[in-house]
Symmetry: C3
Subunit: 388 residues, 3 copies
């Protein structure tokens, strides 16, 4: 048999395998070089959070089914991908007050390498005419537990694919299903996230989706750079406008500084594929985030330059839309309308660049795509992109 | 000894029996034909929810002490009583944001066969003059864990009675205690819920209570009918007014349609007893909900005619009050005032009608009660019943 | 080795020792007379709450790491210190909706002997200009789980010190770390709480902190008295103004009565140390709360005279500030400003007075301090102390 599929969680059967580890030996398979470990965290604010760690001998990627299939962090040898948020984590969704009146409760659980912002909405909180919260910051999906989780292992290649299904749905509400697959192969320095979002309703649905991929030191340090092929770029607001000349650079920690964000329409190869690269000052350590602009046409670079203890971090954020209040995005046609039963697929590959040659190759790939497209640089906020 | 009482949960002693099954064999009793199984769910959004399943050989009724003694679902042979809500369940109360500013967070946990709406309030959200939530949709009781659960088994009859105690109380707030007993006897096609609500405060308390009893297919399908003896009936609003001629009928799924509700004062036998019947098109499968108008004088028929995937369902809802904003109900004298220490009892029997004869008998029982009372039919909303 | 330190919980390592008991025998130490028991509660609203009970042979003090290192209750022989709140407890933080729009959700978890109010704010809810909640009643710290808990046992003295670390922090928010140590020695009738609050941010932080120490019967009964050395005292509001002549006395239960509170600047010994004493009518049972006005310059006496079933209780509340809306406290200079990295320490000793001699000695100690300071008695609210 070429494949094993093991159910880890199935809410409808009340099945949860508990803590366990799988590898080639336990499966009696030929191909080795991988392992899958599931664990329910026990301590502090993490109690009750399931973590599934996928190891391909080169990378260890920790996925959080309990937090909407977000990625807690990844280790590439001694390199930790992720950041040090000022809240210990991961945090169980029941301790994240996403409905609190100011719409900022989401931040109480924000500390992951990758979390999705969506599905009904993302962006800053939006309020109704009476000042009541309509949409909290960055939506619900990052705080919804998966009801179904399984892992498929290919006996020949040793490819491991963890699949989770999360419903953001309720009576009289949006009804979207996220099916996320995180996959990696023995020895490769990358993993892929394949997400399918389906409107499981018989009525039209709406989708906003942004991948908040967050890196702190040692990738984000003074002298680090970010690059991607640009079709158009603009600062989000007046703060970013002042920093526009250095949008691709990272400076020293600035305690008390305000976040800076740049909105981008990435350029891409003819098939839509493109990538963003982040590397350190020396250019011998980096990461590439590969995606497709036909699926994810917008990109935000978010820089939080506060002190390390306050969460120095950058977000590389490919997305369906720009992180504005939802009504603004809808007005500008960037909210996806999903007819009943329709599905959209999104793919993201995150790759570790372990030495100068790999950084140089990724940088060259960005340059090659850029060559075909002269970038439009707006040195002030674009009124079609930035909510007033 | 004629009875066994076994404590399943006692928060004051931190006692919880964990997963277990009881039957005549394990108790060494004569009468058989029943079992009681307690299980703490492990997976997805249900993690941490206790389910106690009572089986009398004919029915299996699943009670949720963690969700205010609501009923998750019941199985009568192959017939499932309940509905397919667009949120997988049951949902742990800690994941239901009943306090979110729009007052609709309650819907994130709404997927049960029976849940109570109350105790301090039910009905749509109500806000203060500044637009701040006063009462969320349908109140708190369905999202409060019982602090005491026990089961009593009668050795002679094999009757099983599950009792749970839930306090909806806090300092400077309403202080009501719900003591709910779910009981059934071997081989019978029905179960009874006996609720006692006590004001455990030395100050006056207020009670609203509505039993949201929800049925989807195969009981609610095109051609299904609902009937009960009517003293008076009126559509809730303009939407229901349009459907008034077919208030007792169920039509096909209408994706995108708005819910329709009818407010009813049921007629009853001289002792107050009455019943509502729901049966399928063929009239050979149905359910009867028996109650007493001296305890529960109002009744709402709620029809959600959205597509099956969006939760096609009807609610048969005997109640103390009509599900309007609490201030409106208070104005109209339908909020129960409970003096200090006073208790009110409510009884509900749900009965499966397994063939045409049983459906016909129940239908006849409705007709017999109706005979004595000419129904008042209001073909438009009654201003005393419907909030503007 | 003179000391054992045992880690009970470490979220960063996902380490939790589970249920366990330690004593001199299990540690193989010389000094006996103590034990430490950790237990994760299983039932009802307490499920998932960790309790660590410290026993010195004379006192049993139960600490709640899951609830911000609050104290659930203490037993001194047959005497229970604490109160009977109208909500069964302790309550897991995930069931306490501290963000609900009216800002009163905190009360759903309020039933402890001691809970901290803070750290960013305490006092009544405060709203912004649009009526949206800014600060909920009494802040967040009492509903945040510790991420690190350990216990240190001194082999020679048998002193037990339980340490917990709780972060009230998030990206773009206040970042304060509470390190709390609860310590007691074999045979002594007292325990000490040593709290260090550190601003772990590189930006300035703000701290409000009030120790809500709550006693019901048998310490608070008609005829009970509270006393402490007074530099100045004023009723909080018109209600307390009417009771001003009897601020130090406890009367019978008054169902339906409104809470009464007195704001106090305690007098102290030259080194700042002072104490408050609560004793019963006969003067042969009491408790002393010792603190230092250099750390905790304000004190609130809170009387809730409702019926026992509604939570008859008094709060003795040494604090950094007065429990007013935060903006008022800030205006009046009572919010502590913590520069980056700075720490403040607070110490509180709670002592059982087991007989008339001990009560008399504590009373005399109050008198001795008072002698040096003529008390300022304001018989109406002080506009600098009470928010309008």
């Amino acid at each position: 048999m070429p494949q094993h599929t093991i159910t880890l969680t199935d809410q409808s059967l009340d099945l949860d395998v508990g803590d366990m580890t799988l590898d080639a030996a336990s499966l009696g398979s030929a191909a080795g070089g991988y392992s899958v470990a599931k664990r329910t965290l026990q301590a502090g604010r993490s109690r009750g959070v399931d973590v599934v760690t996928l190891d391909n001998g080169r990378l260890r990627v920790s996925v959080l089914p309990t937090r909407g299939m977000g990625l807690w962090r990844a280790m590439a040898g001694g390199l930790r991908l992720g950041w040090d948020a000022p809240v210990p984590g991961p945090v169980h969704p029941s301790l994240v007050p996403i409905g609190q009146p100011d719409g900022l409760g989401w931040l109480a659980g924000f500390n992951e390498l990758l979390c999705r912002c969506g599905l009904q909405s993302n962006g800053p909180p939006e309020f109704d005419a009476e000042g009541r919260l309509l949409h909290g910051l960055h939506g619900q999906i990052a705080n919804l537990p998966a009801h179904r989780v399984d892992v498929t292992i290919d006996d020949d290649s040793g490819e491991v694919a963890l699949r989770g299904v999360v419903d953001e749905s309720r009576l009289f509400g949006n009804k979207l299903r996220l099916e996320s697959i995180v996959s990696l192969r023995p020895g490769e320095p990358r993993w892929t996230i394949t997400d399918r979002v389906t409107n499981i309703s018989a009525e039209p649905g709406e989708l906003e989706l942004l991948y908040h991929v967050n890196f702190g030191p040692p990738l984000t340090v003074p002298g680090s750079r970010v690059l991607l092929p640009i079709a158009a770029i603009a600062p989000r607001d007046a703060v970013a406008q002042e920093d526009f000349q250095t949008w691709d650079q990272y400076g020293p920690e600035q305690p008390g500084s305000v976040e800076s964000a740049f909105f981008i329409q990435p350029a891409a190869a003819p098939d839509g594929s493109t990538l963003a690269v982040l590397h350190n000052a020396a250019g011998e350590l980096g990461v590439a985030v590969r995606f497709n602009v036909q699926q994810l046409p917008y990109f935000t670079i978010w820089k939080n330059r506060q002190a390390a203890v306050d969460g120095y971090v950058t977000g590389l954020e490919p997305a369906v839309n720009l992180p504005n209040p939802k009504s603004f995005e809808k007005q500008h046609g960037r909210v996806l309308e999903l007819p009943p039963g329709e599905m959209r697929q999104f793919e993201l590959t995150i790759e570790v660049l372990a030495d100068a040659a790999e950084v140089a190759a990724a940088t060259a790939a960005v340059g090659e795509i850029q060559q075909a497209t002269p970038p439009q640089l707006h040195d002030r906020p674009n009124p079609d992109w930035s909510a007033p």
